[in-house]
């Protein structure tokens, strides 16, 4: 294998690099194309939803979601109130006797 052969290989390797360069460019360009496509779709979608909301359409999902969230909040709130109401029933007899004494002191003349 002589010097000519090495040169010939050099040319082929250079071609390989040129092709790789092209392949890299294609890869980046494809990513850019996909990115632009994603952004364009997101913008169009956002604009469409905003316009629909402005006209009062398509907000059922949001309202349903708000309703479900509120129902869960209401349920928790009721549970808390029930627990507090139950706790009121656990006042000790001593406390009740103390309160009765206070009432009698106020009712009876001194």
């Amino acid at each position: 294998m002589g010097l000519e052969s090495v040169l010939s290989i050099g040319e082929r390797l250079q071609r390989l690099l040129t092709e790789a360069d092209r392949e890299a460019e294609v890869k980046v360009a494809e990513a850019q194309r996909r990115a632009e496509e994603m952004l364009s779709k997101a913008r169009v979608d956002a604009e469409r939803r905003r316009t629909m909301a402005q006209r009062g359409y398509g907000i059922e999902e949001l309202l349903n979601e708000a309703e479900e969230k509120a129902k869960a909040e209401a349920k928790k709130s009721m549970k808390d109130y029930k627990a507090k109401a139950e706790a009121l029933k656990e006042v000790t007899e001593e406390k009740i006797a103390e309160a009765v004494t206070l009432v009698l002191q106020e009712v009876l003349p001194r």
Binding site: K27, K89, V103, L108
Partner: protein
């Protein structure tokens, strides 16, 4: 030692392949970066869009929440109020029973006859004048009839004057008196149950605090 053409060729191939791989790796990284930035931007657009929509329909969403959560809050507060009232009623019912025991002389810690005289003095003081007609329950009327002279003296001692007469018709009360002046223009109810009602409206909050429920 000199390099043979074969070795030279091998080195050249290895270097070139390395270069190629680096080139493609860099391109892959760039592409990944571009897509990641795009994904982030898509997310930002989506969030901004949600924010705008929420601001557009915010009042409707708030109305939904207010209706449901507000309703539950109202019901819960009502439930609490009823429980609290139930407890307060328990206290005031017990107090009424104790008052009945006091009036019947069953409560050894109280001197009901003294209480009755104090109630009479308090009442005639509020009415003013000299002559009074006293109404009371059967038991108290019997006591007052029996001790009218003494009670009149106690009233006179306290007020300087005062002439009590008794209404023969007993009234249905647990204790205390209803007194009117002789011409019937002024009547003062000073019964134990009446006082209990007044006290309830006045110190309910204080009783609640004593019970630890307010």
């Amino acid at each position: 030692m000199s390099t043979t053409p074969l070795e030279l060729e091998t080195q050249l191939i290895e270097r070139t392949i390395k270069q190629r791989n680096e080139l493609l790796t860099r391109a892959g990284e760039s592409a990944e970066k571009i897509l990641k930035a795009a994904e982030e931007e898509v997310e930002r657009i989506g969030a901004e869009s949600e924010r705008q929509i929420l601001s557009l329909v915010g009042s409707e969403l708030r109305a939904v929440r207010d209706r449901i959560v507000g309703g539950a809050e109202l019901e819960g507060r009502k439930m609490m109020m009823l429980s609290r009232q139930e407890l307060l009623s328990k206290v005031f019912d017990a107090a009424r029973e104790r008052l009945a025991e006091v009036a019947e002389g069953k409560d050894k810690s109280s001197d009901y006859e003294d209480i009755l005289v104090k109630l009479i003095i308090e009442t005639v003081t509020a009415i003013g004048g000299e002559e009074f007609i006293v109404s009371a329950n059967e038991k108290d009327l019997a006591y007052l009839k029996k001790n009218l002279k003494k009670v009149n003296e106690q009233v006179s001692d306290a007020l300087g004057e005062g002439d009590l007469k008794l209404d023969d018709e007993p009234i249905d009360v647990i204790g205390g008196v209803v007194i009117r002046n002789s011409d019937g223009t002024k009547t003062f109810h000073n019964t134990l149950e009446g006082r209990l009602v007044n006290v309830r409206s006045r110190i309910e909050a204080q009783v609640g605090k004593t019970l630890g429920v307010i």
